[in-house]
């Protein structure tokens, strides 16, 4: 349903720009009925992106703890790569959430909050990638503190985001 509509409106050439630049435009909301997107069951890719970010950021936190306790640099290398992977997944999830949020005709407070939390998680996650790019122990303690914060944010964002989807389906 959703994909058919999207493809048709894209062919009209009225999809991308009006939607992003002026989401409240009446023409856009009628031609691209994005509320349909949230009424169906959650897209498996979106679920994967949202839920997958959680264990990756958890991996950053656990690896940082192991590094702080052991001084074994390999744990920090793990943390850096896990954080990079988490940024890719959560970044795509964030993009998806923002597009869905902008396109939604009926804003759910829950999904808006989820998007805000996900944005915060990504921004702090990105800062943490820069902190992890500092050499050796220069990452500590800020990197570990940020890892705790980012994990909490992404867990909450993922929970709320998936929960909002479930409520939309039930409604």
């Amino acid at each position: 349903m959703w994909s058919v509509r999207a493809r048709r409106t894209q062919a009209d050439g009225r999809w991308a720009r009006p939607l992003l630049m002026n989401g409240m435009n009446a023409t856009t909301t009628t031609t691209f009925d994005s509320s349909g997107a949230t009424r169906g069951p959650i897209h498996p890719l979106r679920a994967l992106l949202l839920a997958g970010s959680v264990p990756l950021f958890l991996g950053v936190l656990l690896s940082d703890m192991a590094y702080a306790n052991s001084d074994q640099i390999q744990w920090k290398n793990f943390a850096s790569w896990l954080n990079a992977g988490a940024l890719v997944l959560s970044g795509l999830a964030l993009l998806w959430s923002l597009i869905a949020l902008i396109g939604a005709d009926r804003k759910s407070g829950r999904s808006a909050l989820a998007s805000v939390l996900l944005l915060a998680a990504w921004v702090f996650g990105f800062i943490n990638s820069l902190v992890h790019a500092k050499d050796a122990g220069a990452t500590l303690p800020e990197g570990l503190a940020l890892a705790v914060l980012v994990f909490a944010l992404v867990a909450a964002a993922s929970w709320l985001g998936l929960d909002a989807e479930r409520r939309e389906v039930r409604r």
Partner: protein, 459 residues
């Protein structure tokens, strides 16, 4: 800090001194540099100056001196050696290739590659000969090939030692030889796992019994882990006969050049210090090397300044760290040193030439020049003086990057440039004119402090 330096060298015919503008440009050099507090933002500063061709330009030298390119189209020239008969050997190669361990390694590798030559390393020694002494090196041969990133060179009697990135090897050498008689003989294996800092500097003791090899650390500041630093960041003393080695001095992060001081026989080293704690930390330096001395890396810098990035910390090692003799400025990347002789002319009669490859992580960039550290009574005395500049042009482009510097006892300074793949030769302008006039004796008559043979073993 800069003004007294200028007046002190008012008599020296030096055309260019480093401009001193802005706080990041404050020079941190000399025997007692004032070190700022460590600082590091979220992003490390990186500034890679775009390479450009020399075209009609030349590097600048002080008035009364002259610079010529005596060899071009080399394959990454690093260090050079002047043989007793005046021939020049050039070590060409590119080593390293440590694997990327972190996302940062991947990104930094791409950025840094933009500031180096795309030419493949030659893994060879090129020999240049100027048979008639006119300053033009008309003969050029491949002395040896199939080496593994050769860097340090030293001649002891009829033995030519070459420090590959993984082994010290030896050729038999007869004066006048154009090519090596055969493949080299291995003297000793050198630490080569990972080889983050791969260059193996080399010099021979004054009596020729020992060889000193500089082995750089495997990281900036232990970010590849402590086990990766076993046998790294030190100078080895190797017995020329048996190949047996022992650490001569440790805690030297990246000892990129070694030289024996004429007269005293004292070993000197140029060391590249750590990055990412500020544009003016930590100064690269030259220092006389105390036997069994520990110079701080990784636990501390410039004596007892502890580096908090190292885990675990080691207060006992910090307390034991020796302060180096002379700071050259941060991130200048000293890659070559050579003691001068009076034949280089009065301004440079007594002191040390230093080749500065130039920074990649400082804005504005530093280094990209050859400086002269004047000596008095065998110790550095005074601020560094520019000798060859213009590698980093005023248009913001880089045309060359100095590596090894070597003094020809007949009165010439050789500068290897691994960006434009050129060997530069700096001479007194008057001397060159004399030679060009056909008086071959001029070169031989030039005063030599050490004699050709011992001078040739110096680097």
């Amino acid at each position: 800090m800069k003004a007294p330096a200028l007046s002190a060298f008012a008599l020296v015919p030096v055309a260019f001194l480093v401009a001193c503008t802005g706080s990041t440009d404050a020079p941190v050099y000399g025997a007692d540099p004032r070190l700022p507090e460590p600082q590091r933002g979220l992003l490390p500063s990186m500034k890679i100056a775009k390479p450009a061709l020399w075209g009609d330009r030349l590097p600048q030298v002080p008035q009364g001196y002259r610079i010529t390119a005596i060899a071009t189209d080399l394959q990454i020239p690093r260090q050079t050696l002047v043989l007793p008969n005046g021939d020049i050997l050039i070590a060409e190669g590119r080593g390293g290739g440590a694997p990327a361990l972190t996302p940062k390694d991947v990104i930094a590798g791409i950025i840094k590659a933009r500031g180096t030559s795309p030419v493949k390393g030659g893994n060879r020694l090129t020999l240049l000969r100027d048979a008639d002494g006119d300053g033009v090196y008309e003969s050029r041969t491949i002395f040896a090939k199939d080496l593994n990133a050769p860097y340090g060179l030293a001649l002891v009697g009829n033995r030519l030692y070459v420090a590959n990135q993984d082994a010290l090897v030896r050729f038999d050498y007869q004066p006048g030889q154009f090519t090596a008689g055969g493949p080299p003989v291995k003297v000793a294996d050198l630490p080569s796992a990972i080889n983050h800092h791969w260059t193996k500097a080399l010099t021979a003791s004054a009596d020729g019994k020992f060889l000193y090899v500089g082995i750089g650390s495997n990281s900036n500041i232990t970010e590849r882990g402590m086990p990766a630093e076993a046998d790294r960041a030190r100078v080895w003393q190797i017995d020329a006969e048996t190949g047996a080695h022992r650490p001569y001095a440790t805690g030297l992060r990246n000892p990129t050049a070694l030289a024996i001081q004429p007269g005293s026989g004292q070993l000197w080293v140029a060391v590249n210090e750590r990055d990412e704690i500020g544009p003016n930390l930590v100064p690269d330096y030259v220092t006389s090397v105390q036997e069994n001395g520990f110079y701080g890396w990784p636990f501390s810098y410039w004596g007892q300044n502890a580096d908090t990035r190292v885990r675990p910390q080691d207060p006992a090692k910090v307390a034991a760290a020796i302060r180096p003799d002379y700071a050259l400025g941060s991130h200048v990347a000293t890659l070559g040193i050579a003691f001068s002789t009076p034949a280089m002319g009065p301004p440079f009669a007594d002191g040390l030439f230093v080749g500065e490859h130039g920074s990649w992580n400082r804005d504005p960039p530093s280094g990209y020049r050859v400086v002269f550290v004047p000596f008095q009574d065998g110790r550095p005395a005074g601020d560094p003086v520019d000798v060859v500049t213009g590698f980093f042009g005023d248009d913001g482009k880089t045309r060359g990057r100095p590596v090894g510097v070597t003094v020809d006892p007949r009165g010439a300074l050789l500068v290897a440039d691994d960006l434009s793949n050129t060997l530069w030769r700096v001479t007194l302008a008057s001397q060159t004119a004399q030679n060009a006039g056909g008086t071959l004796d001029a070169a031989d008559a030039a005063p030599s402090a050490t004699g050709a043979a011992s001078a040739a073993t110096r680097r």
